[in-house]
């Protein structure tokens, strides 16, 4: 199933998520994280998108996965954070 969300991060930037997911098993099959936010290093978001594949679409699982990538690649967000990213992804399912 394909879905899109547009989420204005409180005190932050505009996040647009394009999500393909397995609606039966609630697993991410493909994701594009877009928007006018800043993330350093930029290439880490490409890694984030790959790592999120096959992640269960629950708040807990998404936050764990995102935080682990943030920690591993020392990602610094401006206008976005891990919680907002989870919120944007989950809004695709509303």
């Amino acid at each position: 199933m394909q879905s899109k969300s547009v989420y204005k991060v409180p005190n932050g930037k505009l996040l647009k998520i394009f999500l393909d997911y397995d609606s039966k098993n609630k697993l991410i099959t493909n994701i594009h994280i877009t928007g006018d936010f800043f993330a350093y290093p930029e290439e880490s978001i490409d890694v984030m998108e790959k790592k999120l594949k096959d992640t269960l679409l629950t708040k807990k699982n998404l936050l764990e996965k995102i935080n682990s990538v943030v920690k591993k690649y020392k990602i610094e967000f401006i206008g976005l954070d891990a919680e907002a990213l989870v919120e944007g992804i989950l809004r695709c399912m509303e």
Partner: protein, 254 residues
Amino acid sequence: MKEQWRLLKTEDNSAYTNMAIDKAVMVSCSRGKVPPTVRFYTWKPPAISIGYFQSLNEEVDLDACKSLGVEFVRRITGGGAVFHDKELTYSIIISESNPKVPKNILESYRRICGAVIKGLKHLWIESKYSPINDIIVNNKKISGSAQTRKSKTVLQHGTVLMDVDIDKMFKLLKVPNEKIKDKLIADVKQRVTSIKHISDNNVSFNETSDAMKIGFEEEFNIELVNDNLTKEEISLTKKFERECFSTTEWNYRR
């Protein structure tokens, strides 16, 4: 004696060339081949640049770009879509190890924007920094910036609006909701300004760049020395233009 940095003035380049020059200077600086560099430039034809993370199709009306003769390019920096028309664009490229630029990213935005604010002062315009990446005059945006860091080198580029055509901008940029487009345009007209709107006369690129030059010199306590791209930078520019910024793969990657 003051530290000497390089000043490049490269007017009227295409969108691909402009983004390729910034990247070429960044690579050259990271290799220790050139000193910290400030560049002032313009775009010919006018162009839209989108942020590294933005979706081109989502943000830009490509048919409108074609019919209005406007180019488009993806930047290597994050942030939002910008319509580059009647403006001075600046870039600053400097090693992360240079103590004149704070290590902290947000603090470095403030510091570099400080140079633009001082430059505007030399055009009799009082402005202030508006975090994260804007400069405002009477609560209206006159400048926006975006920064990246690669190979221990900082690149920040940004706009200084000399004039602005919001109606044309909205012909080129897509809005999330067409039904409220008129209201959105009215809102943006209230929130954006330019040197021309404030000073009520046309200020040329050269006058603006002269003021910005002083602004950067004052903020960083340095001397800017006019120079040109090196042979290596020209070669890198051509390479990045050909292999990156002009390609479908790069511009449509999101």
